[in-house]
Amino acid sequence: MNSRIGKAKIEVKNLTIHFGKVQAIHDVSLDIQPNEILSIIGPANSGKTSFLRSLNRLNDFEPRLRINGSIKLDGLDIRNDIEAEDLRKRVGMIFALPIPLPRSIYDNITYGPRLAGLRDKTTLDRIVEESLKAAYLWDEVKDRLRSSAQKLSGGQQQRLCIARTLALRPEVILFDEPCSGLDPISTAKVEESMLELRKSQTIVLVTNNTKQAARVGTRTAFFLMGELVEIDATEKIFTAPRDPRTNDYIVGRFG
């Protein structure tokens, strides 16, 4: 995997998250290794999305958020040592529903780089092509880059969103149930791109679909009621989980 095994990409220590009086995450500690796909599974309200959104500080906008504990990216505390905007350029996110901005395909992909100050047209063109190719969308849209992104199909839109995130060359990509609105073929394409991205990026995948976690995850974490119940290699979680609650959840889903 990586030559420096043991050197985590992201280190989460004793993370606790409150929204007002509601506790969303309770004392979670885990490491995310470089170039792995960490799947996070768990029932609704288990805190998986809150956890994910704390990794790029996207829940900073919640009015009554309280966070304790620490999250480190390459050893730097993401709340104190890095600006939120810089953090989000390094830690990209794909949302549950594809949300193309009401702009052209080209402008969607160049949105991040342009706001980061990149103006050179040749570079932007190259970024658009490379990002779309990496998201397996280039062949379908290369002749209509200037047409509206909202005219694409749902599956194409989600791959566009992946390309848009890739345009910033993030080191980590957070997927928040990226296939919940997609048909099986589109899902397969998204999963395929995840496996490909893993070679150069670290991926955290929150999913309601345990089969998906089993298919793509190197490791899998099981969240329940805001607590991390268990984290281990994916085949271990799915064949011989240590905690009976993990087993109940997986069996219940497969049963």
């Binding site: 009015p63 350029k89 949300i99 509206s148």
Partner: protein
């Protein structure tokens, strides 16, 4: 079943009657003004100065005055109103201060227009020494229309999906970049709706301009923001109540021109708005 059907018909009839009751006065006003005022319309009426103590000639200075007042007051109120709305909806935290500001805006909308006139007189005309002038009148009208612009702008901002903001943030955009590139462009049509609503209000008000800008009779055109102007609603009031012997069709003609001017400006603004809609 038949009982239910009858009730259904009665309910439908009541709703339809209420709707017609709303439309009827509007139609009546338009028909009245057009039939009585149409005969006054001529190039002379529209484009020349008044003569014979405003009993003959045209109303050009009043038309131009109202047009200038609308443009200057919107030019002042739109940017300030939009900026305030952006602050309130995108930046302000939900605390006591914000609630007081919101309350103030709602109350501002409820203040009667003659009070705005008095306020404009004391602040702009007297205290700031702008005198009775276009600038005093436009500022007074602008303050009066601020609540409309702020409220419609906030609605327009609120209508932009939260997810656009999240996507923008997730791509490393700052708060201002997000507002500038992923919120405001999609709120522009709604913001312009607020501007359109303001045009009619500004053009039609008499009380706020009474003490601040409007001239009783001024047979020359304004050259600077410090000049006084005639304005259509005030002119209509004078011609109806202060000057004996003004032909009836002159009065209704003035009203017709006022309605027509608002209509023309609304159409122009709506065209700008539809251009923004198409740009998406």
């Amino acid at each position: 079943m038949t009982n239910e059907g009858a009730r259904q018909r009665i309910g439908f009839g009541l709703l339809l009657a209420a709707t017609l009751l709303v439309v009827l006065p509007v139609l009546a006003i338009i028909v009245l003004i057009v039939t009585k005022g149409w005969s006054a319309l001529s190039l002379e009426f529209l484009f020349t100065m008044p003569r014979d103590g405003m009993r003959a000639g045209g109303i050009f200075p009043a038309i131009l005055g109202t047009f200038v007042l609308v443009l200057t007051s919107i030019a002042f109120a739109l940017p300030i109103g939009v900026m305030a709305a952006v602050y309130l909806s995108e930046y302000a935290k939900d605390n006591v201060l914000t609630r007081i500001i919101n309350l103030a805006i709602i109350n501002l909308a409820g203040v009667s227009s003659v009070v705005f006139g008095l306020f404009g007189l004391s602040l702009f005309v007297v205290f700031l020494r702008f005198g009775v002038s276009i600038i005093s009148g436009a500022l007074t009208l602008g303050i009066m229309t601020l609540p409309v612009i702020i409220t419609t702008t906030r609605e327009a901002l609120r209508a932009v999906p939260k997810s656009y903001r999240e996507v923008s943030f997730s791509l490393g955009a700052s708060r201002w970049q997000t507002i500038r590139h992923s919120v405001l462009p999609f709120a522009t049509p709604g913001i312009l709706t607020g501007a359109i609503l303001s045009i009619g209000r500004v053009a039609g008000e008499t009380a706020p301009i009474l003490f601040t800008v409007a001239a009783f009779y001024l047979p020359k055109l304004p050259h600077a923001l410090g000049d006084q102007v005639m304005a259509l609603p005030y002119h209509l009031y004078i011609a109806t109540t202060q000057i004996p012997g003004v032909p009836e069709n002159y009065r209704y003609g003035t009203a017709l021109v006022l309605i027509g001017l608002v209509l023309v400006m609304n159409i122009a603004a709506a065209r700008i708005r539809s251009r923004f809609r198409r740009k998406r």
